[in-house]
Symmetry: C2
Subunit: 586 residues, 2 copies
């Protein structure tokens, strides 16, 4: 392990030149323009003042540039993590209070420390337990919840809750209190943003605008909508008409600080911080690996944990809230040509400058504009195609998607994703506790043995070959006993049973005891027990056990050699009554 492992900047920094600099600068400008309205909006979604979103887009990006390994990943506030922050912090403090803001900072700090620890302990594999179906169901449900949570902001009514039932209930309850001016701003912003996303590019093309410029204009669209509605707000004095505005925000950048350490709060935030860390990491690593693959680059998952952890610690120090690598933003960064993580650092400088310039004007920005920004951004998260694909492929996978989706919608983000992970692990355990097994025979003309029910194969009377399609462990050990005993009962006249172990990747202590029990039962019935195709690692364990020392049959390298050896043994001992098929059961 060299220093470069922990500080990837030492690696790519040495190769930095004028060309990578100009690529990174161009990407940074585009990402900055995209990030400004998003970071304001996502902070609002997290229940925080909008400027906190800007704070969370400065130091974390610099930290990632030092510790991260992806050249394209754009770190900052993202929709799903913002929703999860709102749900977690909402349980320990009231929105709008100082306690709320400092709990959000504490959440970022906890999440950062956990990520760094996971990275140093090489626990990146934990993320694998969030399966694709679970992630997909979770992201879709989060998108729906977030979009619904913005209806209030678009219409100027108050809504509450972080799950669908409460949100819809409070929308219905307050539907009579719509503010028409707010709804007008919200509606126009929504329509404009939708048009920018769907149609502006073609429209510019028709007017002969070059493709590069058109792309930049489209990316800048949301910022233009922000300026437009700010002007509307100022001209029509929307604030006096009851339209919710962002209001006065502290000027400039915040002082660097750390939150106060309240142990009771830390205890309540620990589990949400862990879930946020893992979800954020999985979201981030997926996009980072997808983009890296396109350029034939490598991502180091455990170092990515450290990079994201450092970003979150930086977010806490800079007065922000939990951040991670955003999907849409990273794709834009990649398309714009970001060549190294330095692009993120330049974006940070852009956002810091914008913070200094923008804060005086933010007071008149209608919150409905930000709500519209969020709705448009999260529409891409909603994707039901996984439900359909999972249904076709496997009902178990479908169950995992459906449980996560419905659980998240009805019970909120943390419960929903925990249910999904729990369900997918239970399905896996259940499946492996009821293993598939096949009686096998020889495929004619080969040395290959397959299931007698699926292939035309040859078998030998008195010899039963069973292929067990699962590792043997405590959850299926008893099942194996029943299986073999039932097969023996159903096949009178047996002299030999061969357990074909080509699919047995491990045998644990419980399964070893079951094998001993099976062996004892078969010995009573004068049936010899053989094993074939036992794998190296499994054989290493069995050597030196009582089971192997007393085995009535043999261990054969291949199933075919087992059958040949049994045939040879019969020829050699034809008078041995115990091994003659018809007498064995007597």
């Amino acid at each position: 392990m060299s220093l470069k492992t922990y500080f990837p900047i030492l690696d790519w920094g040495r190769r930095y030149n004028r060309q990578t600099l100009s690529s990174d600068l161009i990407a940074a400008v585009i990402v900055t323009i995209m990030l400004i309205p998003q970071s304001l909006a996502y902070a609002l979604l997290a229940g925080l003042p909008p400027e906190v979103g800007l704070y969370a887009s400065v130091l974390p990006l610099i930290a990632y540039a030092v510790f991260g390994t992806s050249s394209a990943l754009a770190v900052g506030p993202v929709a799903v993590v913002s929703l999860m922050t709102a749900a977690a912090v909402g349980r320990v403090a009231t929105q709008g209070t100082i306690d709320y803001a400092s709990a959000a900072i504490m959440l970022a700090l906890l999440s950062g420390v956990m990520l760094v620890l996971m990275g140093m302990l090489r626990l990146g594999f934990i993320a694998n337990f969030l399966s694709h179906p679970v992630i997909s169901g979770f992201i879709t449900a989060s998108g729906l919840i977030i979009a619904t949570s913005q209806v209030g902001g678009l219409l100027g009514i108050k809504t509450e809750g972080h799950a669908l039932p409460q949100l819809i209930g409070s929308i219905i309850e307050h539907i009579g209190e719509i503010n028409l001016d707010t709804a007008a701003v919200g509606g126009v912003a929504l329509a404009l943003l939708l048009w920018i996303r769907l149609d502006l590019k073609n429209w510019l093309k028709r007017f002969g605008v070059p493709k590069g410029l058109a792309t930049v204009i489209v990316r800048a669209g949301p910022v233009l909508v922000v300026f437009l509605t700010m002007a509307w707000s100022a001209l029509m004095d929307l604030g006096s008409k009851g339209v919710a505005l962002v209001g006065q925000v502290p000027q400039g950048l915040p002082m660097l600080s750390l939150p106060s350490f309240d142990f009771a709060i830390i205890q309540q935030l620990a589990l949400p911080a862990l879930i946020i860390s893992i979800v954020g990491f999985v979201e981030s690593i997926s996009v980072a690996q997808t983009l890296a693959a396109k350029r034939r680059e490598r991502i180091t998952p455990n170092q990515e944990l450290i990079g994201l952890g450092a970003s979150n610690i930086a977010a806490a120090i800079g007065g922000g809230y939990p951040v991670t690598g955003g999907f849409a933003r990273s794709v834009v960064n990649f398309d714009a040509g970001a060549a190294t993580p330095a692009a993120g650092a330049f974006t940070a400088i852009g956002i810091a400058s914008a913070t200094l310039l923008l804060t005086p004007f933010l007071a008149i920005l209608p919150k409905a504009t930000l709500a519209a920004t969020i709705v448009i951004a999260v529409l891409t998260l909603v994707d039901f195609s996984m439900l359909k694909r999972a249904w076709t492929y496997s009902k178990a996978d479908f169950a995992a998607v459906a449980i996560t989706l419905v659980g998240t919608l009805l019970l909120g983000v943390e419960t929903g994703i925990s249910l999904g992970v729990g369900a997918s692990i239970l399905v896996f355990l259940y499946r492996s506790s009821q293993p598939h097994a096949a009686v096998v025979g020889l495929v004619p003309g080969t040395e290959h043995y397959r299931n007698v029910k699926r292939h035309k194969v040859e078998t030998v009377p008195g010899v039963l070959s069973i292929r067990i399609d699962e590792s043997l462990y405590f959850a299926n050990a008893r099942y194996l006993e029943d299986l073999v005993i039932n097969q023996v009962a159903a096949n009178p006249g047996l002299t030999d049973i061969v357990l074909m172990c080509s699919a047995v990747n491990a045998i644990d202590m419980s399964a070893l005891e079951s094998l001993e029990a099976i062996h004892a039962r078969l010995s009573d019935l004068k049936v010899r027990l053989h094993l074939s195709e036992v794998k190296g690692p499994v054989m290493d364990r069995l050597l030196g056990t009582e089971f192997l020392a007393h085995l009535s049959g043999q261990i054969h390298l291949s199933q075919h050699q087992a059958m040949l050896a049994i045939a040879a043994h019969r020829l050699a001992a034809p008078a041995d009554a115990a091994h003659r098929p018809l007498d064995a059961a007597s």
Copy 2:
């Protein structure tokens, strides 16, 4: 499903005759004699009045005779379940109160209902998740805790707690309050019981007592100790000397009743009831199956759940507490010749008679005698040999035993066993998330392929065969991607990769997506991807997927056919640069 499935009594009842009757009666007498002191003592261990142990030994035995499938299982109060009852009920009520007794009854009812439901829903497999190492560690730790908890009763001091630290702490705290008369009774009872167990049989043999009679005398030993210390207590008026006596107990049998339904209590008892149900079931089914195997009988696990459930519901109705099949008692029942479950019903009649006869005299029985009975009974539970065997066989299994043992000793029964189950599942998941994989080659002179690192095998340049030793699922899907990509990077000049799937028993949705990702990466590098030895159930799922439709290589029945087909393909297309080893990487 005939009525006989749910009422096994209809089956064996028809075949009942004078011979089975006399066998059952003899066994019942011996078990009754053994059960009397044990049931008194175990009730005390559960924190209940001793007579409750007798109540729990009447109706449950009759219920099991009707619904159970084992001819030898002797149901009633057992040590480990009594300890678990004390731990669970102690959290919702204070010992000695009516609330405590009715909570114990509620626990039996809940456990009974759960067991019956599990049986009807055929959920017997849940018990498989208690692995042998976990059970072994749990029983040993419970034995140690129970023995320690009786030190107070033997010395006449007060102790508290259901885990080792509190118990030892309170023994040390109160060590100065020893009552010498109690310690004398306790010491004599302990010494006598130990002598009866270890030496009485040989001693009787030396005096020429026939073997059968000697066995009966040894079994009756504990009852004799009870009578002896009762006489001691009466003659020396031990009660006035501060020796704790059983005291007045209600005469006769209790009225049949059901506990009052307090929802808050039910909620608190639900999880302990579930754990007690599963532990009791596993303990019971293990001994039932061991004994059944000796007589070539069959036990039906799901019907056993119903039998034990009915016993516990009967325990609740009869004013008892949770019961299950006891190990030592069932072995005695078996050895004494019990031929059908009717032996249990006769034992119930014996205990009911004893309850009517004994209760007037129980008042003067020193509790120290019962404490000594418990200590002797649980000594057989303590067995450290599993620790040693697991250490030799597999460190993962050792960890499961050690975690359960230490967890139970330090944190109590419920936490301990939950930690053990959790640890063994985590170990399994971790192992399967980091699967073993081997590059394989042909064993010369056969069609069999094995690991190149372990066997002398032949490989073909440009073709890499990887055998994956695990089902592919979400937890190892990403691992597989890394594995294949790294192998490709390490082997320039590849034209074909064969994934040998003989050990792949399932491919879930996440793994399918990983296979698609691998396929896309390999296609970019102009390497064809083949699969071989795909199992029937896996193939069924893959049919109709995009992955199979676009696969660059083929699916081969056997690894050998895959190699032959690739060789044939090369011969057929020698000019195809993309498939010539040395050009492929360019």
